[in-house]
Amino acid sequence: METLAFLFQWGLYALLAVTAVAAVGVVTLANIFHAALCLVAVLIGVAAVYAALSAGFLAAVQILIYVGAIMTLVIFAIMLTERIATPASGTANRLVFPAALGSLVLFIVLSRLIFSTAWPLRPGGNAPLTAEDLGRALMGPYALPFEVISVVLVAALVGALVIARKDRP
Amino acid sequence: MSSHILSWITFTPLIGAFLVLLIPKSYKAYVKWVATLTTVITGLFTLKALTLFSLATSKLQMVEKVAWIPQFNVQYFLGTDGVSFPMVFLTALICIVACLASFGIREREKEYYFLYLLLETGMMGSFLALDLVLFYVFWEIVLVPMYFLIGIWGGPRKEYAAIKFFLYTLAGSLFMLLGILALYFGSAQHTFDWLALTQTKFDPALQRIVFLAFFAGFAIKVPAFPFHTWLPDAHVEAPTPISVILAAVLLKMGTYGFLRFSYPILPSAAVWFQPAMAVIALIGIIYGGFVSFAQTDFKKMVAYSSVSHMGFVLLGLAALTGNGFSGAMLQMFSHGIITGGLFLLVGVVYDRAHTRDMGAFGGLGAQMPLYAGLLTFFSLASLGLPGLSGFVSEFLVLLGTYITSKTWAALALIGVILAAAYLLTMIRKVLLGPANPKWNGIAEINLREILTLVPLALLILAVGIYPKIVLDYMTPAVQSMAALFGGTPS
């Protein structure tokens, strides 16, 4: 049991590391297509983290919505707008140095904050949620936001349709 | 009607302004007559108020008070006393005169008279408002028509002059607004009511800050020395009637502000600021005099002479004595009529010759003898010739100042000499000397122009010979003011 927990723990760390590397890949890889693939990796990695945190429903949604829907869309868009064989040069702008510095400082600041904060941990942690729990919540207290989301999606689709559709004279 | 006489005085021009707007294009010729009639009616209301005015009291008279923004204690509060009434009278008079002088305006007449009458409402309101916010409102209302009047109908650099005038004054008045708000929050009862504020004793530190804030607003309008640079531009570029109003009324709004608000509400700060005020006044007097002397532009010379003469008003204020105050008030009045007249005269010759370069003239005394006589008369009044109003006020200011500081009075006397120097030089260049053949056919000053000047001249003479006719209106107010600063009220 100990060993399993140990393995699980280190496995999770490894997962985090891999995901982080993939994230770096998303932002640094010269080829946008590769970067998109890296993002898929990150998304899957994050989904795995959700699963590890016993948020299985969320993990599933992550895979379905993100990887399934959004990423397909993105990659489709990439292929629409750019040939895959675009020369690799010049995919980053001239802000690399200040951006790196800024991001680094931001990361350090946030890390320091994270470690210096005494997080008010709930003793024993919250119990894991089932899909049913979430469903009840969405139909209960979160009913209105849930409905609003649907409106947002409708509006977004209507608008996106108008904007993206080809003009016929 | 007489119960709301001050409102009538203030808003009659506004009514007239909208009437002017309503005149259809085909009746364009009547626009100026409607406007003139409006100013005359306003003048009649002022005369009516004159009969109602009691000389016996320093209290506010003909008060009108209605809540305007009750949540903020802002009132529609009009009233008059010896400080404001002469200014109201002056405004009414000058507005009639300048309206007559505007007949030469041919371009965009409707707009012109609309703005002109709007301006009159703003000026009247500024002098009559006794609620600080209301005062500020009127004060700012003045700016906008002024901007257009200079900007549309002005000289070659009109746009520059207009915006410069506008921004200068606006910047100053915004600080004034801050000061007004500071008084509001500094007063226990949270009020903008002038009467209540004068009865409140403010903390000296607050007084100083507010005084400085007010100073920014008022000194720019006066204009006191380092803030005067808008003045030559605005005066020179403005069309003649507007220069007249600028010099005769608008500048007075600054010193009126000191007299009405800064000094009675913030007496300890006034004492604290006394030396600085005197220095600013003296610099204005002497500096203005010298700079006037250096001018070759006729109008600019008169403009700079205003800096010098308004310095006397400030000096009278700085003296903090009864004579100083009455001198300052009288100087406001007499500078109004004198410099107003001078600008009219500059306009007369400019209309004919289309130049204001004094060097281009010469010998006009022979070609336009009537004009020469009037110009000489107003110049002499301006240089403080006894028997004319300028002398009395300068004398009172000097007398008042002398008691406070001999040095100040002595320095101010330099200004008296300077005034003679630049005005006589002007007369020498324009009227005297060999006649310039270029102006041989130049038309003599016409009847309408004379009509605009005569009332002013008569008033100058009357005040100069028997100043009590004006001083009597001011005396109670002066005494209560002097009492604030340790003067002995009788």
Binding site: W119, V148, V152, A155 | L178, L181
Partner: protein
């Protein structure tokens, strides 16, 4: 209150939503799309009529949205702004065409989103409502066909907004983690102790990115000029007012509910940003040549003044914000109404189109002058009342520096407002034909002009109403 109980209070919003879907439905049948605009207007009016003055403040939908007087105020603001925008759109060639139906639908949704945002009292609700407003704004910005600039602006807007909302979300997640709750009042209660200062402040600053983006507060304002310039004029008119208003509503709710204990910290931040915002806005506005871009910077500066009221979050400050917003809405929409008239006629937004406008069409020029003077804060126009109140707030709290900077800024601002006035009155007309003024524009102009003059001359009712809203 749970969802079912809450619905009773939610009738206006429900009507709005229903109207939106109905309009979408009607779009399939109606050939003349202007009718949909008319329908949308009708929906807005009906909604406004259905709004009932809340006797007491209640929290609806299990703690997501507050139905209080504050919401009530912003409901009206949002509805009026959207209504005026639709009026402008009806007359604008930019927004006319095949897709006009969807356009009005989006605006009805927008009204709904705005009200939600103003009512949100929960981080989730705040995020959702703001994101909803943002998404609709991106869409509306890029709505014009074949306008590369509009598309470009939409892209910039989208990228900028997404990053900002990402940053805000991160801040929200931290706050949530530290407090264990998404309710802004609960956050305030949990994070009140000094031990939480660091985290709460970081959370707030990160959230400021999102809210600052909405209210175009420096340094989060950079998107605004580009977007305002390129978006269709009615949309720009809308964007300069409504999203800002709800941004301020959210900011006020957040600061007063979640961070009252940190006031001594954030007041300095907001004050600094207020001065920065007005200065940057004014300085940059001076050298603009495009009227919409010019008004964009002006609106940035105006946001700076409004932030003065936020800095002093007491009754004076809050009434200052609300009053300023009311007058600013009228004034700015009024200015854009005239801009819309001119650009409908001239087809461009160059300042040079305004040369000699006073000769071409005196009435619009005079109205524009009134609006600009009001923006400059000159009495007796509405803008002055707003200025009076924000200055009062600063002076009352003894923020002399803030007041001084604001005063200097106002003077500088007057300069560039007068630049337009100068063009209209002091220069000759390039073209002689007067600009057209169809009835929707006239209606909008009359409405905004009445507001600008009326609120300036008789501000007492508005102030009374605002006091009532604030429970005084």
């Amino acid at each position: 209150m749970n969802a079912l109980e809450s619905l009773r209070f939610f009738v206006p919003e429900a009507v709005l939503l229903a109207g939106g879907f109905l309009a979408l439905f009607l779009d399939f049948f109606l050939r003349n799309k202007k009718w949909i605009g008319g329908f949308a207007l009708a929906v807005l009016v009906v909604t406004a009529c259905l709004c009932v003055w809340p006797d007491k403040n209640s929290i609806l939908f299990s703690g997501f949205f507050a139905l209080d007087r504050f919401t009530y105020f912003f409901r009206f603001l949002a509805l009026s702004v959207v209504a005026v925008t639709i009026l402008l759109s009806l007359a604008s060639p930019e927004t006319s065409g095949k897709n006009e139906g969807e356009y009005y639908v989006l605006f009805l949704f927008m009204a709904f989103a705005l009200i939600l945002a103003a009512a949100a009292v929960n981080l989730l609700a705040i995020y959702m409502a703001i994101e909803f407003v943002s998404i609709l704004s991106y869409l509306l910005t890029g709505f014009v066909k074949k306008n590369p600039e509009a598309k470009e602006a939409a892209v910039k807007y989208l990228l900028f907004g997404s990053v900002c909302s990402g940053i805000m979300l991160f801040g929200m997640s931290l706050l949530y983690g530290a407090s264990g709750s998404l309710d802004i009042a609960a956050i305030g209660a949990r994070l009140g102790s000094p031990a939480w200062t660091g985290l709460a402040l970081t959370g707030l600053l990160l959230m400021l990115a999102g809210i600052g983006f909405k209210i175009s507060m420096a340094p989060f304002h950079l998107w605004a000029p580009d977007v305002y310039q390129a978006a269709p004029t009615p949309v720009t008119a809308f964007l300069t007012v409504a999203p800002k208003a709800v941004g301020f509503a959210v900011l006020i709710r957040l600061l007063s509910a979640s961070f009252p204990a940190l006031a001594w910290k954030w007041q300095a931040v907001i004050m600094g940003l207020s001065m920065l915002t007005m200065t940057v806005g004014n300085l940059t506005a001076i050298s603009q040549v495009n009227i919409k871009r010019f008004l964009a910077y002006s609106s940035i500066a105006q946001a700076g003044y409004i932030l003065m009221g936020v800095t002093v979050l007491n009754v004076t400050g809050l009434s200052a914000v609300l009053i300023y917003f009311a007058v600013y809405a009228f004034t700015n929409l009024g200015a854009f109404t005239v801009v819309s008239m001119v650009s409908n006629q001239c087809g461009n937004d160059d300042l040079s189109s305004y040369a000699g406008l006073a000769r071409r069409s005196p009435v619009p020029a005079a109205c524009m002058t009134v609006f600009l003077l009001s923006l400059a804060g000159l009495p007796p126009l509405a803008g002055f009342v707003g200025k009076l109140f924000v200055f009062s707030a600063a002076i009352e709290a003894h923020y002399v520096l803030l007041a001084t900077v604001a005063a200097l800024n106002s003077a500088a601002a007057a300069y560039y407002y007068f630049k337009i006035v100068r063009l209209m009155y002091l220069t000759g007309p390039i073209e002689k034909t007067p600009v057209a003024s169809p009835w929707p524009i006239r209606l909008a102009l009359a409405f905004t002009l009445a507001g600008t003059l009326g609120l300036g001359l008789f501000p007492a009712p508005l102030i009374g109403f605002v006091r009532l809203v604030l429970g005084q």
